[in-house]
């Protein structure tokens, strides 16, 4: 303990605001899927989510799960929106 080596269980510091950013990314990912049937709103939410996740991930604020939920929700929501508008129904 006195030789200057860091303790084994010390993890990198979580940047300030990272927890909130992760929560936002996950919430937006879920919202992107929930609003898939709402035209105009759905693509805007999905595009906004993708931009936010990209921005936050770039700055290292997001953990892996939040990136997957945020970007994945955005992509899944868009696929559902697209299918609803153009593929599944007349």
């Amino acid at each position: 303990m006195t030789d200057g080596a860091p303790p084994a269980d010390v993890r990198p510091a979580v940047p300030p605001g990272a927890r909130a950013a992760s929560r936002w990314a996950r919430a937006l990912g879920v919202l992107s899927v929930v609003v898939f049937f709402v035209p105009l709103v759905a693509p805007l939410v999905q595009a906004g989510t993708l931009v936010y996740v990209l921005f936050a991930a770039w700055h290292g604020w997001l953990d892996r799960t939040s990136v997957i939920v945020g970007a994945g929700g955005s992509a899944l929501g868009f696929v559902l929106f697209f299918a609803t508008q153009y593929i599944w129904i007349v």
Partner: protein
């Protein structure tokens, strides 16, 4: 180095994917918003494609009439016929922006049904016998089939009503779009090169009505698609019902019928475009989706492509039942529409009600009911299409009243 390269590539891929998704989302999420009605190239229904009658001459200069009717569809023509049957000698002028039967009338399937989309409110129990009686009385040649399902050629039905109205003394002007309706006594209608003044005006333009500035918060156009196969072998036709009405999730509803020369005609769907847009003539996805709907319900038809396809707006209301309303400060502008796809029979009967109103009679009270005010844009675009999508997905059904 490897880790750095991997991270860099991942980010780059991520950015690229995001950019593609963003551009795609913007296009498919909002492309239709950018389209203008002026760019619209209207298509022709199967009925019209079998032979179109030359359109009547447009109105030019100034004119006065006892009754002006805007819209040369089944509602306007039926109103003219019934008004003239009751008041021979009445000066009736019908103004149609394109040609008689251009709108929802000539684009429908021609299947007749009693009632409305939501049930059988008073006055609508006998709309099919009403049409059959009208066709017989006026001697309209419209390939009317009485049984097992009552159906006709809607375009020729409209032409028959036009000729009957003209025979009774009405004047039908085609190719003259009304640009403005000036309230007053008389009401003044203005268009390109004409002015028409009349003490009473019937606006019978159904889904096109909001574009005239009438009933903007009550009526909206919902575009639907229809298509017809080529002539089919007898053994295939034998297994197809005379009248098709399929309600499943995956399509709002699919309707259809056997059409002349051994064809099958189907239609489905409803789409609302921004600001009551009328420009839609289908896209690359529409008719393949309609064909999939048909093939899902009737697998024997899967290998038979459509020979003719078309689209068109039907007039709708928030509660999916037709309305009659009075506009203008003097109360002499009456509008009617919102049949939600049941316009051939119901529109014919509505014409009878409208003609009665000119004589002080009241139409069924439910047609004069207040309806939900639709919000302005962009909320209207969002709300109407969200509800349509939920209904298409089978997640919401509007309760019927019987």
């Amino acid at each position: 180095m490897d880790a750095h390269t991997t991270m860099s590539l991942t980010r780059r891929t991520f950015v690229r994917t995001a950019a593609i998704a963003g551009i795609g989302g913007a296009y498919f999420g909002g492309a239709h918003l950018l389209l203008k009605d002026e760019r619209w190239t209207p298509n022709r229904s199967f009925w019209v494609s079998r032979g179109r009658e030359p359109a009547g001459a447009p109105l030019r200069g100034e004119r006065e009439a006892d009754l002006a009717i805007i819209g040369g569809g089944v509602t306007g023509l039926s109103t003219a016929v019934h008004a003239l049957l009751r008041s021979p000698g009445l000066q009736v002028v019908i103004l149609e922006a394109q040609y008689v039967g251009f709108g929802a009338t000539g684009r429908s399937g021609g299947v007749l049904g009693n009632g409305t989309e939501m049930g059988t409110p008073p006055g609508t129990e006998d709309t099919v016998p009403f049409v059959i009686d009208l066709v017989d009385r006026l001697g309209i040649a419209c390939e009317l089939e009485r049984a097992p399902v009552a159906q006709l050629d809607p375009y020729r039905y409209a032409l028959g009503l036009k000729h009957a109205a003209e025979g009774l003394g009405a004047t039908v002007h085609e190719g003259c779009r009304v640009r403005s309706i000036e309230d007053g006594a008389p009401v003044t209608l203005r268009g390109d090169g004409f002015t028409l003044r009349a003490p009473k005006v019937i606006v019978a333009t159904n889904g096109y009505t909001p574009k005239l500035g009438i009933a903007t918060s009550r009526l909206f156009p919902a575009h639907t698609a229809a298509a017809v196969t080529g002539p089919l072998p007898r053994e295939i036709l034998r297994d197809i019902p005379d009248s098709i009405l399929v309600m499943t999730s995956g399509e709002m509803y699919m309707w259809g019928r056997k059409a002349p020369n051994g064809r099958v005609l189907v239609g489905a769907g409803a789409r609302y475009f921004y600001d009551n847009g009328l420009h839609y003539s289908g896209d690359g996805f529409l008719f393949p989706a309609l064909h999939r709907c048909m093939a899902k319900s009737f697998p024997a038809l899967a290998s038979y492509p459509f020979q003719h396809t078309w689209t068109g707006p039907m007039g709708c209301t928030a509660d999916q039942e037709p309305i009659i309303g009075i506009a203008g400060g003097s109360g002499n502008i009456i509008y009617c529409g919102g049949y939600c796809g049941h316009g051939i029979a119901m529109g014919s009967k509505a014409g009878f009600f409208l003609a009665g109103m000119l004589h002080g009679e009241k139409p069924p009270a439910w047609m004069l009911r207040p309806t939900l005010d639709l919000p302005g844009e962009p909320l209207r675009y969002i709300a109407v299409n969200a509800v349509i999508n939920l209904m298409n997905l089978g997640l919401y059904r509007m309760p019927k009243h019987d």
